[in-house]
């Protein structure tokens, strides 16, 4: 049996009187890429943060790599890329990666090699010694991804990793994700790009805090009797709105 990397059970969360997550269940086995899709404000980032233990949940539990969250030690085995870039602008890209690698306890002898490798994956090798303040938006995004990859984690949690990244580089990044998957690593990725959603092994559509639909892309397309994930997205939303007005 394949090990479970993420196990979310009945998680609910509200900000004040605004319920953002309602009864979410999610299971991600190792060696799979799972996509979280849903309209803006649906609660994807909130769910990701709840999984990481960075957001307190009102009900339910999240377990990551066999440990109930929040847990400090498990963080070392998770590569996290936040939706907004959190980088030290006065430092160079190399210094940024090195800093986070040190925090993630990457052994010193492997440090230089690891930095070179991740820089190559995101195509930043030539700009590695430039200050982040002089980076473009897409470059910063790639640097954030490089930081998430640097400690060679068992689980990658990427919150909209390909925003502002050109198609060519996007291909390259997905190639890397497939390679990681082949090594038995798990990836959880949120996205608004439907062709990226098609590439996931498993999809979960969140809308208004509810896991509206989940399954493999093919399964979802069959269930909704449409031919693309984009149409699944739209149809599911329409159906949900209709059920509201029925009440």
């Amino acid at each position: 049996m394949v090990a479970t990397t993420i196990d979310v059970r009945d998680v609910a969360k509200s900000f004040g009187s605004n319920p953002v997550l309602k009864q979410i269940n999610l299971r991600l086995p190792a060696g799979q890429i799972m996509g979280l899709i849903g309209p803006s404000g649906a609660g994807k980032t909130t769910l990701v943060k709840a999984i990481l233990g960075m957001e307190k949940v009102d009900a339910g539990t999240t377990t990551v790599l066999g440990t109930q969250m929040p847990n400090r030690q498990v963080m070392q085995r998770i590569g996290y890329m936040a939706q907004s870039d959190a980088l030290y602008e006065d430092l160079t890209a190399r210094e940024n990666i090195r800093f986070f690698a040190e925090l993630m306890s990457v052994p010193k002898p492997q440090l230089a090699g690891a930095i070179d490798h991740v820089a190559q994956v995101v195509n930043l090798t030539d700009a590695l010694d430039r200050r982040v303040a002089a980076y473009s938006g897409g470059m910063k995004r790639r640097l954030s991804l490089a930081i998430a990859l640097v400690q060679d984690p068992e689980l990658l949690i990427l919150d909209e990793p390909t925003v502002g990244i050109d198609p060519e580089l996007r291909q390259q990044i997905w190639a890397e994700l497939y390679q990681l998957k082949a090594q038995g690593k798990a990836v959880l990725v949120t996205t608004h790009v439907m062709d990226e959603a098609e590439r996931c092994d498993y999809l979960m559509l969140i809308r208004e805090g509810i896991a509206l639909a989940q399954g493999t892309p093919q399964q979802l397309e069959q269930d909704y009797a449409v031919s693309t994930i984009e149409q699944v997205f739209l149809k599911a939303g329409r159906l949900q709105d209709e059920s509201h007005s029925d009440l």
């Binding site: 960075m54 400090r72 959190a86 006065d90 430092l91 925090l103 993630m104 306890s105 200050r131």
Partner: protein, 396 residues
Amino acid sequence: MRVIAIFKRVLREMLRDKRTLALMFIAPLFILTLMFFLFNTSSDTVAKIGVSNVDTTVVKAIKNKHVKIQHYGTQATAKDQVREDNLAAFIKQRRGKLTVTYQNSQPGDSALVRQALQDGLTKIKVQALVAATQTQKKALQQQAKVLKTLVAQQQQLAAARGTSQTGAPMTKSQQTHVSAPTNYQVTSHYLYGSADSTFFDTFLPILLGFFVFFFVFLISGISLLNERTTGTLTRLLATPIRRGEIITGYLMGYGLFALIQTVITVTFALTVFQIHMIGSVWLILLINFLLALVALSMGIFVSTFANSEFQMMQFIPILVIPQVFFSGLIPVDQMANWLQWIAHIFPLYYGGNALMNVATRGVGLSGIAFELIVLVLFATLFTTLNVVGMKRYRRV
């Protein structure tokens, strides 16, 4: 190891930011220089001195281009004349005793008078000494002449007898009179403040403490604020780092800069302005380091209540400026009772006290132990609050 990573990053960021670096290291020197000239003798001010019944030799000796002498009758009292005629000082003589009353509301003027008086009295002593040595010299010359004739006589005698004789009886040497140098006894009074409450020498150690406190408070507070607003703090907490490790890394990084700042300012003051520091420089460094830790933990704590750098600046009039008043620049023991109580809640009160005691009174470690402990407690309190406060971002 993670602490070291934070520490290295803080240093690196600081070194990149040349302006902040300059602010931290050069601004104190600039302010010190300004204060030095404000509080010390400037070449074109003249201090008025009132004299009553003082020897003319003394008055003549005191006189220089920085003081103006005004003569009063023997009945004149120091207090009244100083106030009426706005004198910097009033000197009264009774036999060999000089009583000096300083107005002391303008520290620079008091310094001028003190300087003039000291120079004058030294001049008198030197003159007396010179006179004395001259009489001695004359006497010695006379003795030498007598000796010469004696030796000549003896040589003649020896030649006659064929034997040499060394132990010739001395003729009675001439009595020489050496007059003792005129020694005036000086007692000083201060109408306002006291002798050591107004010196630049006294201000300096407190100022040092204030600089350290102010810059570390501001820079570390803003730095953590940036870390919070740019999201890097949340990102940091998505790594296995402990909350305490972040704070410790910050303490080490900014603590080091505070130490360097203190070393630069102390060295500057000691070498360029030749400030007298009686106590141990190491103690001064230790106190400033502790003050930096308090400022750092306070700055970080306060930054959680600010959402922008401008809001951080708004804490300066509330939290930093009042501390100046209670740091010892204004004598706390002359304040109203309730103000004295308020003084005790400010870290700079303890820091200033300790610095002044070490620098001007040469107090040792045991003498300032209480102040040091209080500073450590302040730092511990705020550090704990910071570590607990970070639970908002991650609960473990």
